[in-house]
Amino acid sequence: MSTHTGLSPQVRLVNEIAVQFHHQAPEQAAAAIAEHIRAFWDPRMRAELLRRAEAEPDALDPLALAAARLL
């Protein structure tokens, strides 16, 4: 499923999170994003995010992609 933005909900949401952490150093930001996702996302959403990160990495903000790889 995709929204009007053409992105899956998981990709859209993780990118929205990632942009809030752009002020932090990349490693620190990726860890914080990953922690946030672990704390608040249902496992099926995390699984779908990992699938999307694998299939279409360019759709993810670089920090979001780095965070996905920490999950």
Partner: protein, 937 residues
């Protein structure tokens, strides 16, 4: 309980210790300095006759009935306006006083209808009572002189009459409107014998009156009387309970005659409202007995089928078997539910327990998702707990009040009256809002600063205020050093030039100098308090903004004492409670994460069930998963998600995609159109439990009548859980609260017995605070140190474009409540029969729109139509509407954008275009070159 009448001590209490001792008719009594003789007498057990005095209003001294004699003083002073003095000896009864009082009463009665036996206030009339008290036996003047007996009755208000012929011109109504409510709609018109109460020269309905009922409450006669009392008669018994509208959580006496509810009267001992009310709580309770209510369970196979009424047993077993069947076919995580902030703590608790223990997953969320979820996130990150810091009473000690993204006079009117009282006393006001709300300029109140920011720029503004505080040396260093952490990193961030008022001026639309002045005022003006609403939370950076406000409060030392704090004004009556009760998919009751093995173990032991350590789906995630096909059934307790949630088209698609939608509600609402099972719910008048208001105050909700459906909602939920194979049984809601207390440290000291004894308590309530905690973070933050969090401004993705050049923001009005399911079924529709679009005259003119025209409102996700009303409350480029009527469908145009941390929808910023619904013919358009096409593409 018989009819409860609180004692009226005549004049308000004065603060301080009882240091002044006086003698009243030989009885010594000690009272605080400044106390009136009348009140001192009442405290010693002696009631002095009175008419113009009542203890909710300052003394007025007009009726001359409360005269007393004081040793050593000449004359017979009015006891209401005479303060006590040490050693004073007061005589309240003497032949001289008796004669004087009888003379006063004679004059009153000579100009008053003598219809006591048929009067609606018979038995509840102070004039009648005082006639007896003073021993009036004759009226020497007769009744044929000039009088007011032919004055017309004003019946324009839907809820009360103004029978002017019975008015004694005591001014209690006028003073209540000013002192208690702060509206100043009433006045005494004319002079001398011609003096009369006037609603500003017009009738009540056409006046500035907000129908709060304070005047009716204050009236000592039948002059201002509820129509329900006129029609049904004087009530004979009372049940003290809690209002089910906004998060103020006012206490009321539900007054009945037999089994029939006659009126709701605000309860003086209510901690939240202290005897005041608004039009919704006071009068708009008729929905509870409205014929639209469904009282029988219903089922259907398909949403295109007719509903089939069934008995409870069938409805419950059908629901349980369908849920189990779906789980068997699609997995444990394929079902979930939503709790309601309109239900009691006990009802919410059992729903989340059913989902976690009987469904076996954490797919539980609550309607707070779409309002104050960022409050929970932001305040937990910074202060350590998900709640406001103060009690409502605290505002009386504030020196600078900053209202951000809230409209208290409409959304939280009873608290607004407290706030306005403090503002009239001299506290300064800063309003941060794109819209010029009433508070900006109203009788005797004018904001020092109205920072009329562009929608979506909250974080830029709060950062700029903090920038001023930091760079101008206004930080409370001792507070920060002692109480907070992570300050240095935050200070480096906030001091950056991009956070200066000048740097963000063009973006926010707030003049830099004005912002600087506001920041200086907040930092240096004494006790600074922040009150905020959905204009803060319902943004893509809602959580960031909450943290930004917390940073500002900590930097200025405005946390941990009376008069300060960061205070969410919660939208619904039990938003705080529904969050406290573990309604979020990642948290168990008491805001403890599901991944915490120790906490989970405590619940597993008590519940006898294994709980999942992973968070479940949030509401918007449920919708997405439904469309993806992994989420197949939902239990919706008292929330109309089809109307209240954003991007209606998406929500409808999600609901339509599910195999089973179970709705538990009073009415067949918009969501019920997609439902397969309808479980009729109970109104607040039938509920037995507790609500927790925005100040963390746990109030009892007592049943005024038996459930019209035959079952309490918690019983139904427990029976569904049992039918699914999970044992859940309670005999009384107090047992549910006992279980909550046993599992939740902040509720450990709460019980129905304690609430009945104390009236209410504010959590945390436990061994450390047996009678509750009015103000939090007094000696330290809940998390230990208050944490500064860096809050970079990230603009929303929602931008005005050539196609959608205006920004829509939404709000609510006084007379209506949320999606209007309740208030639309009351007399309140007289004030708001439809939602309208407020549009600036300039924006209207360039579109060829006239005031009152039907217009189309379109965004990139949908379009709706409504009537345009010119308003300069919004700046050019911003339009505004409410969402109280389903026919308007304001959420048809709101988008999927949401707060990054919590997915709270961004209701407050939607790029839209507005055009005439029925544009003129092309020839007419061509004649006006400057006008945009009706619905520009």
């Amino acid at each position: 309980m018989s009819l409860l009448k609180e004692p009226d001590l005549g004049t308000p209490a004065k603060p301080g210790p009882a240091t002044v001792t006086v003698e009243v008719d030989g009885h010594p009594v000690a009272v605080p300095e400044g106390t009136s003789v009348m009140r001192a007498a009442a405290l010693s057990g002696i009631d002095i006759p009175k008419l113009c005095a009542t203890d909710s209003l300052e003394a007025f001294g007009s009726c001359r009935l409360c005269l007393v004699e004081i040793d050593g003083r000449r004359g017979t002073p009015a006891s209401c306006t005479t303060p006590v003095a040490e050693g004073m000896k007061v005589t309240t009864q003497s032949p001289k006083l008796e004669k004087l009082r009888q003379g006063v009463m004679e004059l009153y009665i000579s100009d008053h209808p003598l219809d006591c036996l048929t009067c609606s206030a018979n038995g509840d009339c102070e004039l009648q009572d005082m006639s007896g008290v003073v021993g009036l036996r004759q009226v020497r003047y007769g009744y044929d002189g000039a009088n007011h007996l032919d004055e017309k009755t004003d019946s324009s208000n839907p809820y009360f009459d103004f029978e002017a012929s019975k008015c004694i011109a005591c001014s209690r109504c006028v003073r209540a409107c000013g002192e208690v409510q702060g509206t100043f709609a009433l006045t005494i018109e004319g002079r001398g014998f011609g003096s009369k109460v006037s609603a500003g020269g017009t009738d009540f309905m056409s006046s500035e009156c907000v129908s709060c009922g304070a005047c009716v409450q204050a009236c000592p006669t039948a002059t201002l009387q509820e129509k329900s009392v006129v029609q049904l008669g004087m009530p004979t018994r009372s049940v003290v309970t809690t209002c089910a509208y906004c998060g103020v959580g006012c206490s009321f006496k539900a007054e009945l005659r037999g089994a029939e509810l006659v009126r709701m009267v605000p309860y003086k001992d209510g901690g939240a409202n202290e005897g005041h009310s608004c039009v919704k709580g006071r009068f708009a309770f008729g929905y509870a007995t409205h014929p639209d209510r469904v009282l029988t369970p219903m089922v259907r196979e398909s949403i295109t089928d007719e509903w089939r009424p069934v008995d409870w047993e069938t409805a419950i077993s059908h629901t349980a078997s369908r849920l189990k069947d779906i789980q068997a076919r699609h997995g444990v995580g394929a079902i979930g539910g939503i709790t309601s902030s309109r239900t009691t703590n006990e009802e919410v608790y059992v729903v989340q327990k059913m989902i976690r223990a009987a469904f076996g997953n954490n797919n539980v969320d609550t309607c707070a998702r779409v309002c104050h979820s960022p409050t929970g996130y932001g305040l937990k990150q910074t202060f350590g707990t998900s709640a406001g810091t103060q009690d409502f009473r605290s505002v009386a000690q504030s020196d600078v009040i900053m209202v951000i993204g809230a409209n208290p006079t409409d959304g939280h009117p009873v608290f607004a009256s407290r706030m306005k009282r403090r503002l009239r006393e001299g506290a300064k006001l800063i309003v941060v809002d794109p819209r010029r709300i009433d508070l900006v300029r109203s009788p005797h109140i004018e904001a020092e600063h109205h920072l009329q920011l562009a929608p979506g720029t909250n974080v830029a503004v709060v950062n700029a205020m903090a920038h001023v505080v930091l760079t101008e040396g206004l930080v409370d260093r001792s507070f920060v050093n002692e109480r907070c952490e992570d300050f240095d990193g935050w200070a480096e961030f906030i001091a950056r030039p991009e956070n200066s008022p000048e740097a963000v001026e063009e973006l926010t639309g707030v003049p830099a100098e004005e912002l600087r002045a506001a920041a200086r005022l907040f930092a240096t003006g004494g006790n600074g308090a922040i009150y905020y609403g959905l204009g803060v939370t319902e943004h893509s950076q809602g959580s960031t903004m909450v943290m930004g406000m917390a940073n500002l409060a900590m930097a200025t030392g405005n946390i941990g004492r009376e008069g300060v704090g960061v205070n969410p004004l919660r939208g619904q009556n039990n938003v705080q409670g529904s969050c406290d009760m573990g309604s979020f998919p990642h948290e168990l009751p008491g805001y403890r994460h599901v991944s915490d093995d120790v906490v989970r173990g405590v619940f597993e032991n008590m519940w006898g069930s294994t709980l999942l350590p992973e968070p479940g789906l949030r509401i918007p995630n449920m919708f997405d998963a439904a469309i993806e096909g992994t989420f197949r059934a939902i239990f919706v307790q008292g929330e109309d998600i089809a109307q209240s949630d954003p991007n209606t088209k998406h929500v409808h698609a999600a609901l339509a995609a599910m195999e089973l939608v179970v709705v538990q509600d009073l009415f067949l609402n918009e969501t019920a159109k997609f439902a397969h099972v309808f479980l009729p719910g109970t109104s607040f008048l039938e509920k037995d439990g507790t609500f927790t208001n925005a100040e963390r105050r746990i109030n009892r909700v007592r049943p005024v009548m038996a459930p019209k459906t035959g079952k309490h909602e918690w019983e139904i939920v427990a029976e569904i859980a049992q039918a699914m194979g999970y044992p859940m049984r309670y005999d009384h809601p107090s047992q549910i609260m006992d279980e909550i207390a046993a599992l939740t440290p902040t509720f450990a000291g709460v019980s129905f017995d304690k609430l009945d004894k104390l009236g209410s308590v504010q959590w945390p309530c436990n061994d450390n605070a047996p009678e509750g905690t009015p103000i939090m973070h007094m000696d330290g933050f809940v998390r230990g140190k208050g944490r500064f969090v860096q809050t970079p401004f990230v603009p929303t993705r929602e931008r005005s474009t050539r196609k959608f050049p205006l920004i829509l923001t939404t709000g609510r009005i006084l007379s209506q409540y949320n999606v209007g399911a309740q208030t639309r079924r009351t007399g309140n529709v007289a004030w708001h029969p439809e939602d309208v679009l407020e549009i600036h005259p300039h924006d209207a003119e360039v579109r060829g729109i006239n005031d009152g025209d039907e217009v189309t409102l379109a965004s990139r996700v949908g379009a709706t139509s409504l009537r345009a009303v010119f308003s300069d409350r919004m700046p050019v480029g911003v339009v505004y509407t409410t969402f109280h009527h389903p026919v308007t469908g304001a959420n048809v145009v709101t988008t999927e954008n949401s707060d990054w941390a919590t997915n709270c929808p961004e209701y407050k910023v939607t790029a839209v275009q507005v055009g005439l619904k029925n544009p003129p013919a092309p020839a007419d358009v061509a004649s006006s070159e400057n006008r945009l096409p009706a619905m520009a593409d």
